[in-house]
């Protein structure tokens, strides 16, 4: 398949193994094939492209989308029905509640002229979710060829290894195929492939080199890297666009982009801010530290007294009881006393926000005990807003 190599990069050996496994249309193949590899290593893409290019009758299912057995089985049958009656004409929706019905209906559908004498492929993506569905689904699909006595092969795609799928009493072992992770050279090749036409390939390749230099030790996920490449390219091109440097001034370009990428790692990579906010930052050239992030501390606006209750809870949770006298005798007048009822409401609202949690049983009516579950950074941010230096009061920092 010459043009397949242009569409599917760096995966020649996996493509050829799969092709030889599929064999000729009417030949039998392994009843089940289990393909595993890291996320974004091309499993879904290669399988889909190969099946489409070779025009083999297949049904592609995602186990996250079809999370109950009924959804999964019905969709498979309906898609197969569409395959066999490809001349249009809307056929009735098939319902299927159990695996027993599925096998029976499957046998009926695959008797059709357009589907018999050919291997039918069922691809189950994100197959790790099958383990959480009904217990007979996974072993049933592994032996579907035997149960239905038809020429069918089921492919399982997952990032979890096969040993974690095997049921207790064993099952029909599939053929296990590994999709290796991309090497740094492969990543460079694939990322450089989607360079925008206005700039030269070398220019883009140099940019990808810098990007990988910053991110490769942390993350090898192709999807993440592509996302970061697209987001940060305008900033990289900025000096060239403004006329301050030309395409070959690698040092200047590097000096411009490197701090920006480092900041990206702390914000966009962690999904602390959204990509649209990031793009705005680049355009307006504002300092990203001033941006309102998506994380907890900037979004929770607590009323004044609740903040003090939270600080008190934190101190109570983390300071040993005997040190309380030492910290609090002198300053005890600072915190005003509010009425008891209001305090109780504020505490329940803090529990709902999961800043405090209930420790012990609900039926302890006279003294429910709470624990503060916020991190040090969070409580410091809160304390800062009320001008309270919490560090002075923490035992661990003495």
């Amino acid at each position: 398949m010459p043009h397949l190599e242009n569409v599917v990069l760096c995966r020649e050996s996996q493509v050829s193994i799969l092709q030889s496994l599929f064999g000729e249309r009417h030949h039998f193949s392994f009843p089940s094939i289990f393909i595993y590899g890291h996320t974004a290593s091309g499993k879904t893409y290669v399988t889909q492209t190969l099946l489409k290019t070779l025009e083999l009758p297949h049904v592609f299912m995602n186990c996250v989308e079809c999370f109950t057995s009924r959804l999964l089985l019905e969709q498979i049958l309906n898609k197969l029905n569409h395959l066999r009656s490809s001349e249009g004409g809307c056929s009735t929706h098939i319902t299927c509640e159990t695996f027993n019905d599925f096998v029976r209906l499957f046998k009926q559908i695959t008797k059709a002229e357009s589907l018999k004498d050919q291997t039918v492929y069922i691809v189950l993506d994100k197959a790790e979710y099958l383990r959480d569905m009904e217990a007979n689904l996974l072993p049933g699909f592994l032996r579907l060829q035997e149960l239905t006595d038809r020429n069918v092969t089921v492919l399982f795609l997952s990032e979890i290894v096969w040993e974690k799928f095997r049921p207790n009493t064993g099952c029909f072992e599939p053929f296990v195929l590994y999709f290796p992770d991309y090497s740094i050279g492969n990543l460079q090749k694939i990322l450089s492939h989607d360079h925008p036409p206005e700039y030269s390939a070398d220019f883009y390749a140099a940019y990808i080199n810098i990007l990988l230099g910053v991110f490769y030790t942390v993350c090898r996920d192709l999807k993440e890297l592509r996302h970061l490449a697209v987001l940060n390219f305008p900033k990289y091109c900025e000096p060239v666009v403004k006329g301050e440097a030309n395409e070959r001034d690698t040092r200047k370009l590097w000096r411009n982009i490197e701090p920006h990428l480092k900041r990206a790692m702390q914000t966009v990579y962690l999904r602390e801010i959204s990509s649209s906010q990031w793009e705005k930052v680049q355009k307006d050239d504002t300092d990203p530290a001033q941006l309102k992030g998506l994380s907890a501390y900037t979004h929770v606006e607590l009323p004044y007294y609740s903040k003090f209750i939270l600080i008190a809870a934190y101190l109570a949770s983390y300071n040993p009881a005997r040190t309380d006298k030492r910290f609090f005798l002198k300053h005890h007048g600072k915190i005003k006393k509010t009425s008891f009822l209001k305090k109780h409401e504020k505490i329940t609202s803090l529990v709902t926000l999961q800043l405090l949690t209930l420790v012990g049983h609900d039926d302890q009516l006279d003294g429910p005990k709470y624990k503060c579950t916020v991190s040090l950074d969070f409580i410091r941010a809160i304390a800062r807003t009320v001008n309270f230096d919490i560090i002075k009061y923490l035992y661990d920092f003495l």
Partner: protein, 445 residues
């Protein structure tokens, strides 16, 4: 159909026409062998189970011809040939004239009929009695089943047709409520109502423990064991027979060449080593079929015969360590976290750890002067930690609850030290300082 040797005489066109012939024959070879390896075609021979086969076929004949009721369990590990045995026996049985007209078969499978209601409907369907049952409502399972069997009675004779029930994944039926189906089937097989043969296939050796007392007492306690009890010499013979082409193959010369090649393979030392390794891991024929299928995949028109190298490659593919493969694709930061966890396991003797502990251990490494390149922010390290959790390389000790913060949740590492060190050896471009840190956590030595 041209004969091979006609083309062989014309030497100038020999290689090209040989190629054409090969292509067509190879396609046929693929078809036959694939059916044999993947689909368990019924023409395969029985290896080493002749005694069990005789036992089974006798039992079936007694039910089918003499009207005697029987029950038997066929027990054997996965891939030992239980389904193949029963299918072979049924095929031979149906070749007897009076049997094929009389005897009915019902095939049930524990994976498909997950409760007794579905099982009963399936039985009705397979006995073609759906019209007879119609809309009747029955008080109990037993009533329903006896109605079905009554309906099979022939008009003039008082005895009914013999029915053979084959229950695959028999142990799953033992998990149904009250084991109603099993109780009723065995009950009927003990009482003389209908000639019934109940044949259960299971991989569980302790199947009798799973049966309730009343079910067990009605079972005849006949068991046929298939234990893959052949040795390596017989394994070699099976290998040769499975890979050889049958005599009915259209071209005699090609068949001879192919089978001769197979004979050479059997005598080749490296092939024997591969087979010995495979045999030591798993004796059953299913895994042998997978090996042969992988070797067959490499057969093309330019490479028309299976070679020893093909078998060695196939063995490599079959015996990869999958966790090591996953570790191979981790980022350097994730590898550092795994090494930090390894050190914690060594110091605290496999006690569970949490993210904060791993982070502190990692910081000890980072704070050495030369390693500031690994000084990542804590949230970035947390994201790497969560990725490891997603890959199921680390596992929380108990299910995530809101009561503890994520950083303090106790986890366990699911890799052992040898796996980690082996994976590090193969890790591409592993930085030397990381590798050195892995071998020793002591920074001041």
């Amino acid at each position: 159909m041209f004969h091979g040797f006609q083309f062989v005489k014309m030497s100038s066109r020999k290689s090209k026409s040989n190629n054409l012939i090969h292509a067509e024959y190879l396609s046929q070879v693929q078809r036959i062998l694939r059916e044999r390896f993947c689909h368990q075609s019924p023409h395969s021979n029985l290896f080493g189970v002749q005694v069990q086969y005789k036992h089974l076929i006798e039992l079936l004949k007694r039910t089918a011809i003499h009207g005697e009721s029987n029950s038997v369990l066929i027990i054997g590990p996965r891939g030992s040939g239980k389904t193949m045995l029963i299918n072979h026996a049924l095929k031979e049985l149906m070749e007897v004239e009076e049997v094929s007209e009389n005897v009915l078969q019902v095939h049930l499978n524990g994976l498909l009929q997950i409760n007794d209601k579905i099982a009963l409907k399936e039985i009705t369907r397979q006995l073609n009695l759906e019209n007879v049952v119609g809309d009747k409502v029955f008080g109990s399972f037993a009533e329903n089943l006896s109605f079905l069997l009554e309906a099979l009675k022939r008009g003039d004779r008082s005895s009914s047709c013999p029915v053979i029930f084959i229950l695959d994944e028999f142990d799953l039926f033992a998990h149904h409520k009250n084991q109603t189906l099993l109780y009723n089937l065995f009950d009927i097989s003990q009482s003389a109502q209908t000639p019934l043969a109940v044949i259960g296939l299971t991989c569980r050796l302790d199947i009798l423990e799973l049966l309730e007392k009343r079910v067990k007492s009605r079972f005849s306690h006949r068991q046929i064991h298939l234990m893959n009890s052949f040795g390596f010499p017989q394994y070699l013979k099976i290998f040769k027979e499975q890979l050889s082409l049958p005599a009915e193959f259209p071209d005699k010369i090609f068949t001879e060449k192919w089978n001769e090649n197979v004979q050479c393979l059997t005598e080749d030392r490296s092939v024997r080593e591969v087979l010995q390794k495979h045999f030591n891991v798993s004796k059953n024929l299913r895994s042998l079929h997978m090996l042969l299928m992988l070797a067959l995949n490499r057969v093309t028109t330019s490479h028309p015969f299976v070679t020893a190298a093909d078998l060695m490659e196939a063995n490599q593919l079959c015996s990869m360590d999958s966790k090591a493969n996953i570790v191979h694709g981790l980022s350097v930061l994730e590898i550092c976290l795994i090494i930090a966890m390894k050190h914690l396991n060594d110091i605290y003797e496999e006690e569970p750890f949490n993210f904060q502990m791993v982070y502190n251990e990692f910081q000890k490494f980072v704070q050495r002067k030369a390693h500031s390149v690994y000084n990542f922010e804590k949230p970035v390290v947390m994201k790497a930690f969560e990725h490891l959790q997603q890959l199921e390389l680390i596992r929380p000790m108990e299910r995530t609850s809101v009561n503890t913060q994520r950083e303090y949740q106790l986890m366990k590492l699911l890799l052992d030290n040898t796996q980690i060190m082996n994976a590090l050896q193969k890790y591409p471009n592993c930085p030397t300082d990381v590798r050195q840190w892995a071998t020793s956590s002591l920074s001041w030595l």
